[in-house]
């Protein structure tokens, strides 16, 4: 990592006049450094490929890595250094809690920022002009799940259960609203207490209400127990949950009862045949393209480069304008941004979960 930064610094020195610098901000050290690596290898790959193809409007791109250790305080210090070094474009930060305070500084100082990993809806909800993201929001999963239920599953009677926390209740509310719009009978909308172990009373109630589909907004420890106790009591219903339930632990807790559960997860971009070339390029460099943030980071750099071309300017405000009014072909699909700076449609994919923790995709 030091060698890369030094190299970037050295080349920067040599051709300082023409280069367009992009700050790559994220954790190089600290407990979530492996996520930072995903972001850096994706961004660097994009920079290398764009430079090899002739750069942007005659200039070369140059990535400069900044380490925020996923610490909000350090993220602010990093943001100030980026301001001092007169860098106008940032790809980062990674953790929502770091992105939030850093983005205040970028917006004030006229720096364009695209995060490839922060999914908190708050970040783009403050009416900022220069803050974008190339990843989905926590709040997008609900509508995806709701549409899928309404169009494909078509259940007769649905129960929507959540864990009363920001993430779970938010998604569950979105699912309920979509189902109601589609005239599907939501017989029950109810919260449970995260950390509870006994859901037998709730399950008896679901059985009495005769529901054939249950959506759960929350995490795997509670849904695992609900699945297990539902199987025990003989409740015949299909269960569905967000990405917070889609990990191997749910199969350990629920065992056979986790077979056939539906779950929404971000698309696996490295499995897309269109990206086969890119995957080979990563493998040639001995890098792992399967990380969740590799392709969104690649897309972030590409969007900045294309934005500069379209605006024919390196002024962040012109580029931001170009980002909002155009759409971009990237390895993560055709991207276009809304007023807030979020992607207009980021696809979550519906998977069917199996008792051995494997999954099969059910939707595009």
């Amino acid at each position: 990592m030091i060698a890369v930064a030094a190299m970037a610094g050295a080349t920067g020195f040599a051709m300082a006049a023409d280069n367009i610098k992009i700050a790559l901000a994220g954790p190089v050290t600290g407990p979530v450094a492996q996520y930072g690596d995903m972001q850096f290898i994706g961004a660097k790959m994009a920079i290398d490929r764009i430079n090899a193809a002739g750069g942007v409007n005659g200039s070369q791109l140059e990535g400069v890595i900044f380490d925020d250790a996923c610490d909000p305080k350090q993220a602010v210090a990093v943001a100030n250094r980026i301001v001092n070094e007169d860098i106008q474009f940032v790809v980062g930060h990674l953790c929502s809690s770091s992105t939030q305070p850093a983005s205040d500084i970028y917006e004030d100082e006229g720096i364009l920022m695209i995060t490839a990993a922060s999914t908190s809806p708050e970040i783009t909800s403050r009416g900022y002009e220069l803050i974008f993201r190339t990843i989905g929001l926590d709040s997008l999963q609900g509508p995806t799940a709701g549409q899928y239920i309404a169009e494909k599953v078509k259940p007769k009677k649905v129960a929507v259960v959540h864990d009363k926390q920001q993430y779970g209740e938010g998604i569950a509310t979105a699912v309920r609203d979509v189902l109601r719009e589609n005239d599907i009978d939501v017989a029950l909308f109810e919260g449970i207490t995260a950390g509870d172990k006994d859901f037998s009373a709730l399950i008896s109630r679901l059985r009495q209400a005769d529901v054939d589909f249950v959506y759960y907004g929350g995490y795997h420890p509670e849904l695992g127990l609900i699945l297990r106790q539902a199987r025990e009591q003989g409740l015949n219903a299909t269960f569905m949950g967000p990405e917070g339930v889609g990990n191997t632990d749910i199969s350990a807790i629920a065992g056979e009862a986790s077979e056939g559960m539906l779950v929404t997860l971000p698309k696996a971009f490295d499995e897309d045949p269109k990206n086969a070339d890119l995957v080979k390029a990563f493998e040639a460099k001995n890098e792992d393209p399967s990380g969740a943030f590799v392709f969104p980071a690649y897309a972030a750099v590409q969007v900045i480069a294309d934005g500069i071309k379209l605006a024919d300017s390196t002024d962040p405000f012109d580029v931001a304008e170009a980002l909002r009014s155009n759409s971009f072909e990237t390895p993560t699909g055709t991207l276009s941004f809304d007023e807030k700076g979020d992607l207009k449609d980021f696809n979550f994919v519906v998977y069917e979960w199996h008792a051995d923790s494997s999954k099969t995709a059910l939707s595009e």
């Binding site: 449970i192 207490t193 008896s204 695992g224 632990d249």
Partner: protein, 308 residues
């Protein structure tokens, strides 16, 4: 109409199952309070340790080739009760006995410290993720018509009722009929006087911690097998609920702890079943406040007589 009756029966069974285990844990609080007037806040963690020991011994017994289910379950109960009792004894010896006779707040702080220590010890030794095991005794019986709503009673629930009933009967016999039980009652009556009469009160106090821990281990094994999941944080909520049950029934009274546990479990199930899961805890704790307003010493508790 019968449908709603079976539904009521189902919720009653759900509530009694949870309530039985609250009662088992509540005994530990109420016995210790009855004798030394102290709340053992580490008791929830003792239950958690009992559950972990159950998981470990089931895995160990299976490893040694003991696959015969009744033997495996009885073995698990014995191992977990012995190891957990050792924990209960050690906690009393290390954290409470040296502080006895001082300010009443000091052992309370020591208990909270012990609770944090045990939780983190297990977290470091076993990891903080949920550990799961498959359902050992699947299946159950249906009560009611095949069409429409029928109440289900799983074999595991039956075992919980049976084991709780047996434990409570044995405990009552021990307290009312044995010499040591009489010594326990004497200690609860007046600790200093009992000591003057030549009874080893330190031994009796240690014994109450051991009995409490053994019953918490029984609850730990039962709930571990019933839910199939254990993590280092289950002790906190279970401890809080059991403590509530003990206070509700009248802290210091053993039948009170049982009644309080069952009442709390059934109230929770009925609230979740007829109203909403969200208000389960609200209703349960409102009930506690109401009982304490009208009967400050709990349902079966005796009013505290100021000793002069």
């Amino acid at each position: 109409m019968p449908d709603s009756l079976y539904y009521f029966v189902q919720q009653l069974l759900n509530g009694l199952t949870v309530g039985s285990t609250y009662a088992l844990i509540a005994i530990g609080y109420t016995m210790v309070y009855g004798i030394i007037g102290m709340i053992n806040f580490a008791h929830g963690e003792v239950y958690m340790i009992g559950s972990y020991i159950a998981f470990i011994s089931i895995a160990a017994l299976a490893m040694f080739g003991i696959e015969f289910l009744p033997l495996m379950i009885i073995g698990t109960f014995i191992i977990s009760m012995i190891v957990t009792s050792a924990y209960g004894y050690s906690i009393e010896r290390v954290a409470y006995r040296p502080l006895r006779g001082g300010n009443r707040l000091i052992p309370l702080i020591s208990a909270i410290g012990m609770s944090i220590f045990l939780q983190n010890l297990v977290r470091l030794a076993q990891g903080s993720r949920d550990i799961a095991m498959p359902n050992l005794i699947p299946g159950g019986i249906n009560i009611g018509p095949p069409e429409g709503f029928s109440a289900t009673l799983s074999y595991m629930q039956m075992i919980i009722f049976a084991v709780t009933l047996i434990s409570m009967t044995l405990l009552t016999l021990f307290i009312t009929r044995s010499r040591m039980g009489r010594a326990c009652r004497a200690c609860a009556e007046d600790l200093k006087m009992t000591n003057l009469l030549g009874i080893n009160t330190n031994g009796i106090i240690a014994l109450t911690f051991v009995i409490g821990a053994a019953l918490a281990a029984v609850a730990g094994v039962l709930l571990g097998m019933y839910y199939g999941v254990v993590n280092p944080y289950i002790g906190f909520m279970a401890g809080l609920k059991a403590f509530t049950a003990a206070v509700l029934g009248g802290i210091g009274s053993i039948p009170g702890a049982v009644l309080g546990g069952l009442l709390l479990g059934v109230t929770e199930a009925m609230t979740a079943g007829y109203f909403s899961s969200e208000y389960k805890d609200v209703v349960a704790f409102s009930l506690l406040i109401l009982v304490l307003l009208f009967r400050p010493s709990g349902i079966l508790g005796r009013p505290e007589v100021e000793k002069v």
